[in-house]
Subunit: 196 residues, 2 copies
DNA sequence: GTCGAACTATACAAACCTGTATGTATAGTA
DNA sequence: TACTATACATACAGGTTTGTATAGTTCGAC
């Protein structure tokens, strides 16, 4: 058992504690506004340990985005349980976003927020962000095809734009109503694009 | 004539130079990433002058957002020239966003970006951002009513979500294609919601 | 020709930032 | 018992941040 675990009673490894603390603070206050000193302190870890595990702040940012992506898909899987049709899964996608916006401290999409803060285009975070977004779009396209849409890629793209717009608007207005509206619009579009 | 104007050959007042410089840097690199030292230097002004005019960095940020809002409506007015119908004006809205995304250094909506960086909810910038967004939504609602939509508020809200989603996606993908797609989706929705 | 407004130049305070250097303590393993 | 991994504590380097204090300069208007 490591020294800090004894001291704090937190059984997780130092790396785990650093990552979850960083994820929280990066999302809540922004990446630039969160210093490594603060992260180390809140994770009950020394800065030396933080740098031993993640190499640099940028490394920690990248790890945070990877972890967030994994968490997102794991959570979405739960919403997918019990779905049998493409329409079901499309609804699940909007439900997942909504549940997430309903949780406390909602501040919009963490990936989009990170992308606006990471002004250096070569930052490794951008690749992770783009992969995440493309994964969502691809899922929507699969659901559209499954639901029998005549042009699945086009339907998916419009749903994707509605989702993104509703997420940022929900954040600005501190309301989940835009996500409800986007869901209704998406389902209406599904009805008009698929036979039956 | 002030000393600096002589030195730099820039006939604008110091306040004007500070504001345009700050607006550029805030949008290009982000608000937190841009220091007042850099702004003062690039505007060929001392920090003392900057603080005499704007009081604080937050004051300068608020002034920047106000100026950006004014610039946006002035530019949109040009796109509105020659429009005679609600549908025309709706198209003009999407065209304005598109033109703006086509300009060099596009990095998404400056208001949304600012909102994600201004994590303190009491920052005066948030009111300016919300007013700007509400102004856009209200314009869209007026266009929807003019075009004879049966439920103008609902149509406007969906167009708004498409616009927001397309803007952030255009930024992430470095492509204006999402804005084209959003425009097509908005016009299709207009056709199905208004008689004739 | 003097006054006031606007501006410059320089220097500083106090806090923060990322990252590293040095040395120590503990737990598990061979 | 010796070795290795992991983490600790402390201190520092070198730079940046916002904001202010002080004194001097330029220029137009009265």
């Amino acid at each position: 058992m490591a020294a800090t675990q004894r001291r704090t009673g937190d059984a997780r490894s130092a790396a785990e504690r650093i990552l979850t603390t960083a994820s929280q603070l990066f999302y809540e206050h922004g990446i630039r506004a969160t210093g490594v000193n603060t992260i180390a302190e809140r994770a009950a870890v020394t800065k030396v340990t933080l740098y031993a595990h993640f190499g640099s702040k940028d490394g920690l940012v990248a790890a945070h985005l990877r972890a967030r992506d994994q968490r997102w898909w794991a959570e979405f899987d739960e919403f997918l349980a019990g779905c049998t049709t493409g329409a079901d899964r499309l609804r699940a996608m909007f439900d997942a976003y909504q549940a997430w916006a309903l949780a406390g401290g909602f501040r919009g999409c963490g990936f989009v927020n990170a992308a606006t803060e990471l002004t250096a285009p070569e930052h490794p975070g951008h690749a992770i962000i783009n992969d995440h977004k493309e994964g969502i779009r691809r899922s929507l396209e699969a659901f559209a095809a499954e639901a029998g849409c005549t042009h699945p890629a086009e339907a998916a793209e419009e749903w994707f734009l509605l989702l993104e717009g509703a997420t940022v608007t929900a954040s600005l207005r501190h309301s989940t109503e835009p996500l409800h509206r986007a869901r209704r619009a998406a389902l209406r579009r599904l009805d008009s694009a698929s036979p039956q």
